[in-house]
Amino acid sequence: MVFSQGDIISIRDFSKDDIKYILRTAEKMEPIARSLEKSDILYGKLLGMLFYEPSTRTRLSFEAAMKRLGGCTIGFSEARTSSATKGEKLSDTVRTVGEYTDALVLRHNMEGTARLAADIVDVPVINAGDGAGQHPTQTLLDLYTMKRLLGKIRNLHVALVGDLKYGRTVHSLAYALAMFGTRMSFVSPPELKMPREIMEDLNGAGVSVHETSAIRDVLPYVDVLYVTRIQKERFPDPQEYLKIKGAYTIDKDLLKNSETIVMHPLPRLDEIATDVDSTPYGKYFQQAFYGVPVRMALLKSLIK
């Protein structure tokens, strides 16, 4: 089990059984996350939160998860309030905070930071996003959302939509869905297609994926539209960005008569119109809530 290694770094470290275990544990945590039950299983434990990059949901849901289980948190929420501004190396910071706490949650703009941290501290390290790399806890909550709302993961058809090249959440999610044998479609502008190495990994695992640039191609038969933001800075020509952005905006009219749910790791800008929020399609805020029981399950499993 991945928990015997003591760290949560990459979804590629997980087996299907590891994931199923977390999803089962998360379901048991839900009443505590909703404040219907109380727990103090992590009473006296301290979680270090090292967020070198901005975060709302990941950081606050980790804090909520730790506190709902009776534990406490310390840390920083942006690099400028840490000694990184004085030029301190990441390895020195994590070594120090690792001595103060019982586990570390780390978000950083460079890929591979969590793996490095895990190798140099004795306490468990959880990757809360490393650059364009991995974001395994987001993937686990995405899978939990599908399981909770649709009752299954395996026999679904999931379309990953938007920026598939740079979006770390879709990279991790594609690997995890491949483990479950879930059917996948990738919908993106040609400039932002899923990276070649991930396509090769998926092909190597015997997973065939349908790639298209049009949402309407997949809408009639997908169970989940997993939408990500297309970032303006990826396009040298602003006109090109505006043209593409319009083609990847989901609104109520587009979804009419479809049977899909719409998920999004958030924050969204205008890729999902607000008129979707109150429809049965829009599930992204529920998805955001599920981050709490999933992270409770991880903390409970890791912190001894």
């Binding site: 190396k89 990441l90 390895s91 703009n109 460079m110 591979g112 793996r115 490095l116 790399g133 090769e200």
Partner: protein
């Protein structure tokens, strides 16, 4: 009738003969070894017929015995190469390069945003995920690098 003159390649007295280099990769091997240099005599054979390989390259270096780190780098470019150490015209050591499962500290990650490229006190580390064609994956950022990206690291020819 004139007989064609044959250019004899003289044997080396002390040094290293790198044989069975993948055809047309001898110049990459020289690059890895920071050759040519003013004070080292080097003989190169390229696209030489080989019963084992069809065609191969060959490099003879006078007065220099390779270090293990250099041999590990050559394995990335020419996985079938053999290294012969010569002393006083005799082969004293004959061995094959060995492409290790884990490659540490000899190449850099091609991802500029990888933590190993930022001055942290850590050596690069790669796992070989495919030997032929060569593909390695960074242990830290998980990015894959292929043969051409690895060759680029040794600089332009």
């Amino acid at each position: 009738m004139k007989t064609p003159k044959e250019l004899k390649v003289t044997p080396i007295r002390n040094g290293t003969v790198i044989d069975h280099i993948t055809a047309n990769k001898a110049l990459h091997v020289l690059k890895i070894l920071n050759l040519p240099s003013q004070d080292t005599s080097v003989t190169i054979g390229m696209n030489v017929k080989s019963t084992q390989m069809g065609a191969k390259d060959l490099v003879k270096i006078e007065g220099r015995e390779l270090r293990s780190g250099e041999v590990d780098k050559i394995a990335l470019i020419a996985p079938h190469a053999t290294i012969n150490i010569i002393r006083d015209y005799e082969i004293v050591t004959k061995g094959k390069v060995n492409l290790l499962e884990k490659i540490s500290g000899i190449i850099n990650c091609g991802n500029p945003n990888c933590i190993t490229n930022t001055g942290e006190p850590v050596d690069s580390l790669f796992y070989v995920t495919s030997q032929e064609p060569l593909v390695v994956r960074c242990y830290y950022c998980e990015r894959a690098m292929d043969q051409s990206e690895i060759e680029e690291q040794f600089g332009p020819l």
